[in-house]
Structure formats: C-alpha cells, structure tokens
C-alpha cells in the first residue's frame, strides 16, 4: 500500500478566522475516504487547499510523494489529482459532447494538437463511453442548460475522471439532488470509480451515503480533524455525534461553507 496524499500541519486563516488548522492526514492508494462536518467546519477549505484553489497559510501537502503546495489546479491535474464541484462547473452553452471532447483533448497533453479539430473519432468514442457509464447518453447533443441537476452532477464528475486522475476529490456529489436519485447517482459514480481504480476523497453531508460508500471517514469540526478512522467507528463516536451528525444537523438547510 503506497501513500498517495499526505498533509502535515495544513492550516488556513482568513484574517482572525481559523478555517482549518493543523490538518495531518495520510491517504493510501485505492482508499475511499469520506469527509464530514457541519457547515463551516473546514471541509471545503481543506478540499480547496488540496486542489490548489486556495493557498494554505502554513503546512505541507504531498501528492504521490512529491510536494504540491503552491501548485495551481492546472499542474495538479497534470500530476493526476482532479476534482468535481459542489456546484457543477460546466460549459453551460456548449453541447455535452463538446464539454467532454475538450476535456479529452486537454488530457492528451499535446499542444500541437490544439489547432486540430476537437471532435476526433477516438475522442467521440471515449466520450460516448463515459456518457454510457454515467447513464446520461440521452443528453449527448444537448446544451448543458437542458440537463437536470442530477445529470449535471454526473457530467461534472465524468469530466473530472477524463483527466486520467490517480485521485479524485468529490465535493458533495449528492447535494442538490433529490432523495430518490441520490443512490442511483452514487451507484453510478462508484462503479465508474472502481472500474478505474481511483482513490477518492469525498465531502458529504448525508450520513447514510457516507455509511454506504466509504471505508474511512475524516470528521471536521471548527477547522480541526476531530476523528479519523473506519466509518462505523467514527460515526459511533460521541464527540462526532454531538458536533457533526447530531440530529438537528442531519439535514442542513444551506449547502457549502466558505
């Protein structure tokens, strides 16, 4: 088992506010790790620091054994670290197929191909393939604006997977999706993840989803990791129940934290 992501003393402050403090975690290849915590607990700050969207105030991050602190999203993608978004980040006024084609073209890492047509038979086949895996083939030639929220989430995750990552960060994959759709969506995603053998770190509010799909959980509260361990053990923890999964917090009204 080789370690793939390791943070040491990772912290982020917004002025006097502590968004994340002294986060030390190690994730090994093939793990599916859930990140839980109430709003403002520091989950998204953590994800944003790892994916280069937010520079850490202090601490180190290593990916695949090499330091990655200070690298932007673009370099991280090249190293094999990609992410999906709580609010799907898609090209709304472009056809779904082009959303995928451009991701595939970019993943080829060949600048001299940039002036060649984006829709090559090989890319179209690959795009059709992942559309099928994600069960959204029917939207192939539609604009993204024509897709419902659940399908957008899937497309967002599909695009992240097309970058040939070693590790995938999913930011609340089921937020904004109806109760009935959640499990179908997660089943689809997890099957695609397994097929590719990816390491996954995912932020989730819904404890049932967490329980069902992850092996290990990081529980955040007030910017600190209060518990790290196997899913059943963490969810059974008193402190975690009090601060994170308490009944009143089970279905938060608003999504996302700074």
């Amino acid at each position: 088992m080789t370690e793939i992501l390791k943070t040491e003393g990772l912290s982020r402050y917004f002025g006097a506010v502590t968004a994340a403090e002294d986060i030390n975690i190690t994730i090994t290849e093939g793990e599916i790790v859930g990140v839980i915590g109430s709003n403002g607990a520091g989950k998204t700050t953590f994800i944003n620091m790892v994916t280069g969207y937010l520079p850490p105030s202090s601490g180190t991050i290593a990916f695949g054994g090499a330091p990655i602190k200070g690298l932007g999203p673009r370099k991280l993608m090249r190293k094999g670290l990609t992410r999906s978004f709580q609010i799907p980040q898609l090209f709304l006024e472009l056809p779904v197929i082009d959303n995928l084609a451009i991701a595939l073209a970019s993943a080829e890492h060949n600048q001299f191909q940039m002036l060649r047509p984006v829709r090559t038979p090989r890319r179209l086949a690959a795009a059709d393939n992942i559309l099928e895996q994600m069960n959204i083939s029917q939207y192939r030639d539609e604009m993204v604006t024509a897709m419902p929220q659940g399908a957008r989430k899937l497309l967002d995750i599909a695009i992240a997977m097309l970058g040939n990552p070693k590790m995938l960060l999913l930011d609340e994959p089921t937020s904004g999706v109806s109760m009935e759709e959640k499990y179908t969506l997660m089943d689809t995603v997890m099957e695609a993840v397994k097929r590719r053998g990816l390491t996954v770190l995912f932020v989730e509010h819904d404890m049932e989803i967490v329980q069902r799909y992850v092996t290990r959980v990081l529980a955040f509260a007030s910017g600190v990791v209060i518990k790290d361990g196997p899913v059943d053990e963490v969810l059974a923890d008193k402190q975690v129940q009090e601060l994170v999964t308490g009944k009143r917090k089970k279905q938060p009204e608003t999504e996302g934290d700074a």
Binding site: L92, L94, A107
Partner: protein, 314 residues
C-alpha cells in the same frame, strides 16, 4: 484535404460574389470591398467574444494594418499589395504579442477599457505625428499585385474586391476550422467557465494569448485592405468609436458562424448608406433602433435567423 459542406458553400459564395461583381455598379463593388474588410476586423472581435472578451480597442490593429500599408508604400517603396498586407500582419503580430502578455490577464470591462486605452494611445501618437499628416492622414500609393498594376478607377476597385475576396475566403476557411479546433473550443470554454478550464489542465492565459494574437493579425488584414481600397489612412482608424462600430457589427451578426460578420457588415454598410441618404439628420437614431431591435428579437444576432429555422426544420 476533404472539404466539408460549410467550406464548399463559403467557396461557392465567394465565387458567386466575384462573378456578380463583374456586372455590379462600381460603387457597389467598392462598398462590398469595404464591407469585407470591415468584416475581417469584426471577425477578430468575434474571436475575442467567443472567448468572453469584448474589445473596445480592435481599432488599434485595424489602424496598424492601415498605416503599415500607407507607410510601407510611402517610405519603403513597397507597392505589392500582398507584401504590404504581410508587413501589416508582421508589425501587428509583434505588437500584439507584447500587449497580449498584459491584456489577456483581464476580463470584462477591464479588458475592454485596457484595449481601448492602448488604441487611444496609438491615436494620440498619430495625432502628434505632424510628418504623417496628423489627423488629416495621408494617401496610399497605387498598388500592384504580383507585378500586375490594376491602376485606379474601375479596374482598381474590381481588383481590390477580388483580392479582398481571396484573402477573406482564406481567413474564413481557416477560422471555420479554428472554431471547431481544440483551441477554438477552449476559448468558448473559457467564456463559459474559467474554473473548470483551469481544473481541466488548460492554460487560460496561453489559449487567450494565441487567440488574441490571431484576432489582432486578422484585424490588421482588414485595416490593410481598407487602406488599399479607400486609398487613404488617418488616425480615426484607432479612435474608440470605430472600435465601437466593430463591436456593434459583431453583435449584429452574432458569434455563431464565420459567415455572420460578413453578412452583418454588408447589412450595416447598406443600412448606414441608405440611412445617411434618406435621413441625413437622424441616421444615428436609425442605427440605434436597428441595434435595439436586433438585441430584443435576435439576441444571438442575425445569424440566429438561420439556425432558428434549422431547429424548426429538424
């Protein structure tokens, strides 16, 4: 190389125009040539718009192209039209490669105003250049092409039209492919969502930079063709209202297709010509109303008339 249908129709239209022009009155040939030249500059504006950027300073490159033709003829003794156009492209690419480093970091109104500022600085320099005729500008030498001298008069205007048609066709064919290339799509992707583009591993800066330089070069060609056709250059070419006109035509046509700027430029020129004639005191009002109607009823430009019909047909 296999030609696709759009390309075949572009070539067909160009040939048709070239033939029709032989039987058209001279003023129409002239107007058409100017419209094609304008459309080339607009094409640059459209390229930037596809990447989500609106330039109120495309006149900078239009003017550089024009002055390259004027100065190249006057001081370097170049009379070959292709060499003059090439000279303009060379100068423009050099300048846009420097400016591009800066302006591609900006978006929205900041990009618009910064490009406007550079264009206005060129305007200021030219106004101060007394030896270049200041605001009066100066005349362009009689040009030749590959040794053939079309001279002035009817043959000159027809030759200019043919030259403009050939150049515009080449550029339109290139852009048609460019819009469908990875780079062209990356531009649209940047317009739609920069965050995702960055996470896809695409360098926004690099994409925008290349796009900016190509747009500048095409704008310069438009300026050169205008200078060769009209026979005169002056600093107004770099004034912001001219750049505003290019944006106007770009919106009129829409960004959907390479042919849109050409149709829009032709319609704009004809509307303006007749408006100036029929209502010499209210032609700006007519232009303003036309623009508003287009935005209200055809938000994606005149070209959406065609795509809309396609939708209902399929």
């Amino acid at each position: 190389m296999k030609l696709e249908r759009t390309e075949l129709s572009l070539i067909g239209v160009a040939v048709a125009v070239a033939i029709l022009a032989q039987f058209s009155p001279n003023w129409l040939v002239f107007t058409l040539t100017l419209a094609i030249s304008t459309a080339l500059v607009v094409m640059g504006v459209v390229m930037l718009m596809r990447a989500g950027l609106v330039s109120f300073g495309q006149g900078l490159f239009y003017c550089l192209g024009g002055y390259a033709v004027g100065l190249g003829g006057r001081f370097l003794g170049i009379t070959d039209a292709l060499m003059l156009v090439g000279l303009g492209v060379g100068v423009t690419v050099a300048i846009s490669m420097v400016l591009g480093l800066l302006v591609t970091r900006y978006r929205e109104i900041f990009f618009a105003m910064l490009s406007l500022a550079f264009s206005m600085i060129l305007y200021g320099v030219l106004v101060k250049s007394h030896d270049l005729g200041s605001t009066d500008g100066f005349g362009v030498v009689d040009w030749s092409i590959l040794g053939y001298q079309p001279g002035t008069g009817e043959s000159g205007t027809r030759a200019a039209l043919l030259l403009a048609l050939v150049i515009a066709l080449a550029i339109a064919l290139f852009l048609n492919r460019y819009f469908k290339s990875s780079l062209g799509l990356a531009c649209e992707a940047i317009r739609e969502n920069e965050v995702r583009v960055e996470y896809m591993g695409i360098s926004r800066q690099q994409v925008l930079y290349i796009n900016y330089v190509i747009a500048a070069a095409i704008g310069s060609v438009g300026g050169s063709m205008t200078a060769l056709t009209a026979g005169h250059v002056d600093p107004t070419m770099a004034y912001w209202t001219i750049s505003g006109e290019f944006v106007f035509i770009a919106i009129l046509g829409g960004t959907g297709h390479v042919a849109a700027p050409f149709i829009a430029a032709l319609i704009f020129t004809l509307v303006r010509t007749y408006a100036v004639e029929l209502a010499p005191n209210a032609w700006q009002m007519i232009l303003g109303i036309v623009l508003l109607l287009i935005i209200l009823f055809l938000p994606k430009g005149i070209w959406s008339l065609f795509t809309r019909k396609r939708r209902t047909a399929s």
